[in-house]
Each structure stands twice: as structure tokens, then as C-alpha cells.
Subunit: 301 residues, 2 copies
């Protein structure tokens, strides 16, 4: 069994790395096409404090933004920055015509109210799609910014399955970041959508009915192989660090991959799965935002 | 069978008339308690044109608002009112400290963009809960205004069933007015929520799994008796006018009442059902809005 891991992934394992690279290449081509029209999409990432994981994310976002030919700006503020100063920095970016997307890296230090900061980002520049206005636009079917992770999951699903009309989708988890927007997106694609969560009864049975199973609960390997309908498409949004056999930690998803991969028609791995889509979709959203702000039709997502 | 109709309703038929009257009485008591604090909730209803049904609704809303002890204002504008004038009227009401709730009666004449008008209502005064901001607040779990019809349905369900945690709810219909906010409300009550619609496969089977079935599709008697799980609670939001046996029209819901009432644990009738809850909830929302605007804690809904 362990030798198999060294070979090419089984063809039911979705190659998120290649798919994300393809999206980034497409974004780069779109950006190149916008430049002659005088538009260079610009993304600003605001980082407060020195959290090591956040520093890695922010560096990575900046690198990929520049690789796509876009303008990247990083605003680093000390951990003790007062909320008012952070909001003032956001408002400066709101007013900057060269910045089309603003991302405030979460989590913020405890003395800052995250929702209050998010609410200050101009909704058309809110490329993370986390503000209340963009949540409402998604429900209303209006043009807004869609949170990056569920947008990435939807792109994977449409790539794998084509038209999703009539499929039974189960979203496990009801967060504002993933579960709720994911459910709205699948509903807009004409799926029959169920949202399940920690209070759901007969959860395994609910999962087993789904043609599409999206899991975002933050509980390591909770979804077992026999929870998966044979042939279903499984999207695992979880990334959990658990103790490994050799004393080192290892990363696992919310789905027991070894079991589920034997049953699923298609499945995303962890690591190297949905996480890679998130930054790619941030670039997609930045191009969309830039086009809208310039009065141009955004490219097809 | 027909004699039975003249007697008291079977005890699985939810008495919406009595329940709505109870809510209105509670609202009246709340309003009476607010007056010594110097607060009289005020509701303004804006009617554009002469649509006969809308005139009946508006008159009825005004009457019940006054009966609850609140201030009622009716603004009537001619059918050819330019959109800008309607928006100016809304903005005058936004600025009026004696008006806490604003309802623009739909439908509006064809030359007016309904979404644009709704977007101009101050979200804290949007007692119909139809603006994008309030849709977002509902998803985000923030204090907002919840659309009256789904709020009324939820009140009926909680009154009948108590705690809804873990129940399987199916919402048939995905409108912004009913289906989508209903799904959000049931999710917030810890139901496992499925949204089904015209593109759902095996719809009857999906319905039969539900402990709670809320139907809002606008198709007369579409849901048959054998679509209902024995003992389920059925909330019929539809009101359809169909030709009756004697040449007159009659009103029916989206559920075939005669069949479903034999199976359901509880069911709302049409007419005399959910429709009665909508105005009662408009009064509830107006009191909630008035308290928030005055910096007081709104009474329990």
C-alpha cells in the first residue's frame, strides 16, 4: 500500500495542484490582456502582528499575485495597532484607485473586532467575500465577491462533474466562511442542497445520500468510508494537525482519505487539496473586482 | 365529509387565525409598555399606483398597526411617479425619527426598479427584511430584520414543536422572499435543512423524509398526501386562485390540504393560514426596529 503513494495519484483523486496552477495561468493571461487597456489589478494584504502562519500565507499571496502580473501591496502593522488605526489603513486602501482588492489577514489580535474591520472594507474591494453585504449579495444572486474557498470548491466540482443540476449536495458545516456560502453556490447551480452540522441526527445516513459531499467541520477524519455514497464526489475542506506515528505531526482532512478514496468517484486529498484553490481564487476575485471597478466585464470564472 | 368542515378544525390543523391574533395582542401590550418610555413605534407604508389587491393590503396593514397602538402613516403616490421621486419619499422617511419601519408595497409599476428602491430603505427601518444587507445579516447571524412570512412560519413551528434542534426540515422553493430566509432561520434553530426546488430529482421522496415541510412554490396543490411523512408538520405558504366547482374561483395552497391533513401531525390551512401571520410579523418587526432605534432591548419574539 505505501508504495502506491509514490506513484501517480489514482484517477479518482482530484489533482488540485495542477488545477490551481491552471487557474493561476489563466488569471495571468487575463491580467496580460488587461494591461493594454491600462488596467493592472492590485491586491493589498494587511497583516497585523507577527503570527508565523499568517506571515507565511501573506508572503505566499504576495508572491503568487506578482507572478500573475498583478500589483501586490503588503501592509504590515504591529500587533498592538489600535483598531482605529487599522480601520484608517483600510480606508486609505478603499480610496486608492490602484488597489482593487483588500484582504485583511485573519486572525486579528484579540483587542480588534474582526467583524467591525471587515465591515469597513469597500464591498467591491472585499476579495475575501466575508462582509455582510457580500453574504447578502450571494443570497440575492447579485454580483458580489464570493469567499475564495467555496468558490474554489465549486470550480473543482464543475470541472469534474460539468452541470450540477439536480444533484444531491450535502454540505457538512455551517460556517460563514465555507459552509453557508458553499450551500448558496450549490443552490444557484440547481443542486438539491442539505446543510448538516453537529446537531444533525443520523449524520452518516445523510452523507450517504449525497452525490456531492463537501466537508468543512474541522474534525480530523470524522467522515468515514462508509459515510460516502459509492461514486460520490468528496471535497474535503478540513486541514487538521494530528500526532503522527513517528512522533511528528501530520496533516489530515475532515474525511478519512484512505477509506473514502476507495468509495468516492472523486476526492480531494489533504494536504495538497482545496487549500491550494483558495489563493488561486483570491487572484480570480481580484481580477473580477478590478474589472468591475474599471467598468469592464469580468472574465468568465 | 363536508359536514366536518363546519365543525371545529381537527386538532392537527394549526389555528393561524388565533395564533396571529395572539401575536397582535402581545405586540399591543409591548407598545403600551413602551409609551411611558416616550416611544411610539411608527410604520410607514408606501403605495404607488392603484392596484386593487395592494390597496386592500395597505388598508389592512394600517388598520392593524393602529389597533396595536402604533403610529401608522400611508404615503400614496400616483402610478406614474418617477423612481427618483419614490426614492426621495423613502429618504424622507429614513430621516423621520417618528417612523421606525418603512414598507414599500410590492409590486411596483414596471418603470421602477424594485431592488434599487429596496436598497434605499435604511436597513434598520427595512421591516420587510428584503434588502441585501438584511439578507446578509440573517446569514451572518447578526441582528437584522427578518422577512415577515418566514418569521411567521418559524413562530408557528416553535409554538407547535418547541425546540427544533436536529429535526429534518425541507424547504420547497428558493425565493429571496420565503425559501432562502426560511432555510437560514431553520438552520439557526439547528435543523438539518434541505432546500428543494423545481430542479430537484425524486422530490416526493425528499419531502417524505422531512419532519418539517415548508412549501412556497406557487403551484396549486402540488404536494400530495403521500409526499408527507406521517406526523410531519406542514407549513403551506402558497396562495393560489383556481377555478372552483361552481364557476367561482377558490383559494388553495401549494399543498393538497385534503390529502395532507390525513397524514400530517400538524398543517396550516389555506386560506386562513400563513398569510395571517405575515401582517402580525410586520408589527413584530416594527416594534423590534423601534426599540433598536431607541437603544432599547427589543422584546422577545
Amino acid at each position: 500500500m505505501s508504495e502506491a503513494k509514490a506513484t501517480a495519484p489514482a484517477d479518482n483523486v482530484i489533482d488540485c495542484k495542477a488545477f490551481a496552477a491552471g487557474i493561476r495561468a489563466r488569471v495571468a493571461a487575463q491580467v496580460a490582456a488587461l494591461k493594454p487597456q491600462g488596467l493592472t489589478p492590485g491586491l493589498a494584504v494587511v497583516l497585523v502582528g507577527e503570527d508565523p502562519a499568517s506571515q507565511v500565507y501573506v508572503r505566499n499571496k504576495g508572491k503568487l499575485t506578482r507572478e500573475a502580473g498583478m500589483r501586490s501591496e503588503e501592509i504590515r502593522l504591529p500587533a498592538d495597532t489600535p483598531e482605529a488605526d487599522l480601520i484608517a489603513a483600510v480606508e486609505t486602501l478603499n480610496a486608492d484607485p490602484g488597489i482593487h482588492g483588500i484582504l485583511v489577514q485573519m486572525p486579528l489580535p484579540g483587542h480588534i473586532d474582526e467583524q467591525r474591520v471587515l465591515a469597513c472594507i469597500d464591498p467591491v474591494k472585499d476579495v475575501d467575500g466575508l462582509s455582510v453585504v457580500n453574504a447578502g449579495r450571494l443570497v440575492a444572486g447579485e454580483d458580489g465577491m464570493v469567499p475564495c474557498t467555496p468558490l474554489g470548491c465549486l470550480m473543482l466540482l464543475k470541472d469534474r462533474l460539468g452541470d450540477l443540476t439536480g444533484k444531491r449536495a450535502l454540505v457538512l458545516g455551517r460556517s460563514l466562511l465555507v459552509g453557508k456560502p458553499m450551500a448558496q453556490l450549490l443552490l444557484a447551480e440547481n443542486c438539491t442542497v442539505t446543510v448538516a452540522h453537529s446537531r444533525t441526527r443520523e449524520l452518516a445516513e445523510e452523507c450517504r445520500r449525497a452525490d456531492i459531499l463537501v466537508v468543512a467541520v474541522g474534525r480530523p477524519e470524522m467522515v468515514r468510508g462508509d459515510w460516502v455514497k459509492p461514486g460520490a464526489t468528496v471535497i474535503d475542506v478540513g486541514i487538521n494537525r494530528i500526532p503522527g506515528e513517528n512522533g511528528k505531526n501530520r496533516l489530515v482532512g475532515d474525511v478519512c482519505f484512505a477509506e473514502a478514496a476507495k468509495v468516492a468517484g472523486a476526492i480531494t486529498p489533504v494536504p495538497g487539496g482545496v487549500g491550494l484553490m483558495t489563493i488561486a481564487c483570491l487572484l480570480v476575485n481580484t481580477v473580477t473586482a478590478a474589472c468591475r471597478q474599471a467598468g469592464l466585464a469580468p472574465p468568465e470564472v
